[in-house]
């Protein structure tokens, strides 16, 4: 038996193990599940080691050290010690007495993302989307585009009204909010349809694996 063939059998065995959950929870499924938990943790350990830890931290420090020993000057890359230090603080969470220090690294992470998101969302999801919604309401010669543009502008407008929180949804305002909900529901319906499509595709892929690659039925 070639290693490839053994691999296919292992794969098929584990696939059936997970599918057995559909009948009911059982040791076969639990084994596959536990293996998945362990293997995925290991997978991330290996990937982060080779692809984050080594290049971002160790490589930069090695560079700083090489410059120091070969040229005798203190290089800018030593600042990575600070980043590494903040990382180590993260691990201190394992020790209750000094665990509070991990808040420093957390603060750094939170600050970075908050700062990035602040401008990014205003720009890409805010201004750019407004820009995309500024459409002519009458397009000469194209009824489809005219109707479509009106639908987009009205739909976006009413949808935003639904998301107004500081005003009660009553009267004309409430009516517009209701129209907004309809648009949201159509959007969700479309998303539902799309998601069903993609889940089915995944299942087809697994079935194909079992029938064709494992059993060779067709």
């Amino acid at each position: 038996m070639s290693s490839e063939l053994i691999g296919v059998w292992i794969g098929a065995f584990l696939t059936l193990g997970i599918f057995s959950f559909l009948y009911k929870d059982n040791p076969f499924y639990k084994f596959s599940e536990a293996l998945f938990v362990g293997v995925s943790a290991g997978y991330w350990f290996v990937v982060t080691f080779w692809q984050y830890f080594l290049p971002k931290l160790i490589d930069n420090l090695v560079l700083a050290y090489t410059v120091l020993t070969s040229q005798g000057r203190v290089d800018y890359h030593w600042v990575y010690l600070l980043g590494g230090g903040l990382g180590v603080l993260m691990l201190l969470r394992l020790f209750p007495t000094v665990g509070w220090l991990s808040r420093w690294s957390l603060a750094f992470i939170v600050g970075t993302t908050a700062g990035l998101q602040f401008t990014r969302y205003l720009e890409s999801n805010g201004i750019k989307q407004v820009q995309g919604t500024i459409l002519p309401l009458i397009v000469g010669g194209s009824l489809n585009t005219t109707v479509g543009n009106i639908v987009i502008v009205v739909g976006t407008f009413c949808g935003l009204i639904y998301f107004f929180f500081s005003k009660e949804h009553k009267g004309a305002f409430g009516g517009a909010a209701r129209v907004g909900v309809w648009f949201l529901m159509i959007t969700f319906g479309a998303l539902f349809g799309y998601t069903v499509m993609s889940r089915m595709s995944l299942l087809i892929g697994r079935m194909d694996y079992l029938f064709q690659i494992w059993l060779g039925l067709y």
């Binding site: 599940e33 938990v37 991330w44 992470i109 908050a114 309401l137 407008f157 998303l191 539902f192």
Partner: protein, 415 residues
């Protein structure tokens, strides 16, 4: 104590900004030796006409490590002999020195941005504040014809990115809305928030769990601790945990992210303390399962089937696992309250759970429950932001219909 720490942080901030200013004003003057390559000369009759009018200038709105070069197309580019394949841009530190190839542009293009690295240690470092001379040559099948050398130009960093003005305006406008309403709310003015169906049901759900003697399962989603949905979920968790502390109902929180777990532990501990029942707080009920999406789902599903919780909360960032969780939860007969800002997952929550907070409603729920002036104020600020967007939308649509280009340009962000 509070005030003191505040003043302290302000001072640190001020010092930091000052330092930044200093750092920037020092600048980075440094010259570097240029590597040179030989330039093949070929001026045979078949060579295309050279590009003319070569101009070099500092690239606007950047950090000072780039020069933009423009030229007038060769007479044989797209016309004449039509034999121009591409243009090559060459650079030198002196007008009669050795020129080095910096890059290429396809035929028909008359602009090139000569960019380099910011760090001096980088092989491709581009020194700012140093004069460079450029020439451009047209190429056709190995034959070249060179332009004359441009006037010198040097790269320098701009203080301000002009193309981003609409973003700056938006940042300032929106921040002002939020800060004004936070101040208003802090002064004690009551700000109205419309009721949210999912949140009205929280009390009933916890009461039911207590009657049944079953735990409550709270899932914070797959987001990291810095995601807004997760933060909103933390605030709601604080309120829910306070209720469970009062009712003495156990609350189980399996986490997908160790940082989220840590923050959840602190949130719940604080809530139990606030409810006067720190002794009932059980840290082992808030635990880390795994970071892998489906391994996590498998673990949580196992908990649902074994513990049969009375109520499941799914609030935060959710991806493909949403339906798997909600479906197993309904199989276990739990009441389910969900909410996420991950648009693709909302339909499943709507379909399979009892109450769903749609997108921004999740953020609003945290303000509604928390009743904190800061949250109420920012929520009101958000509403004003939406009003501004809606006004812009209507005026924009009218402007687009009647072709008022000026108004449309206001929204153009140059990057």
């Amino acid at each position: 104590m509070q005030k003191k720490s505040h003043r302290c942080s302000r001072v640190v901030l001020a010092v930091f900004l000052l330092l930044l200013l200093l750092l920037l004003s020092v600048g980075v003057p440094n010259a570097q030796q240029e590597e040179t390559t030989a330039v093949p000369e070929d001026t045979s009759a078949q060579a295309p006409a050279p590009p003319t009018n070569v101009k070099a200038y500092d690239t606007p709105n950047d950090n000072g490590h780039s020069i933009t070069v423009t030229w007038t197309l060769s007479a044989d580019d797209g016309a004449g002999r039509k034999n121009v394949v591409s243009y090559e841009v060459l650079r030198s530190a002196s007008p009669d020195g050795e020129f080095e190839l910096r890059g290429m542009a396809p035929a028909g293009e008359n602009i090139f941005e000569d960019k380099g690295a910011k760090e001096k240690s980088d092989a491709n470092y581009f020194p700012p504040h140093k004069d460079f001379y450029y020439k451009v040559r047209a190429r056709s099948d190995g034959r070249y014809s060179e332009s004359t050398v441009s006037a010198p130009a040097f790269a320098y960093g701009q203080w301000y990115h002009k193309g981003k003005t609409p973003v700056v305006v938006a940042v300032l406008l929106f921040s002002t809305f939020c800060l004004v309403f936070i101040t208003v709310a802090r002064k004690g003015k009551k700000l109205y928030i419309r009721p949210l169906a999912g949140i009205e049901a929280v009390d009933e759900a916890i009461g039911r769990a207590t009657e049944m003697g079953k735990p409550i399962l709270y899932i914070l989603g797959l987001g990291s601790a810095d995601m807004i949905a997760t933060i909103a979920s933390f605030i709601i968790l604080g309120r829910v945990a306070k209720k469970t502390a009062e009712y003495q109902t156990p609350i189980l929180i399996p986490c997908n992210d160790p940082i989220v777990m840590a923050v959840a532990q602190e949130t719940v501990r604080a809530a139990y303390l606030e409810a006067g029942r720190p002794d009932h707080y059980k840290e082992e009920n808030i635990f880390y399962l795994t970071s892998m999406q489906f391994a996590y789902v498998a673990g949580v599903n196992g908990i649902m089937l074994r513990e049969k919780p009375a109520t499941n909360f799914y609030l935060g960032k959710f991806y493909a696992e949403s339906l798997l969780l909600a479906e197993t939860g309904s199989l276990a007969g739990s009441i389910q309250i969900s909410g996420t800002d991950e648009i693709a997952q909302i339909p499943f929550f709507v379909a399979a759970t009892d109450y769903t907070l749609i997108g921004e409603e999740l953020y609003a729920a945290s303000a509604y429950l928390g009743r904190e002036p800061v949250l109420l104020g920012t929520l009101k600020g958000q509403d004003w932001g939406k009003a501004a967007v809606m006004i812009a939308l209507l005026l924009g649509a009218l402007a687009a219909t009647f072709h008022f280009q000026f108004f449309l340009n206001l929204f153009t962000v140059k990057l």
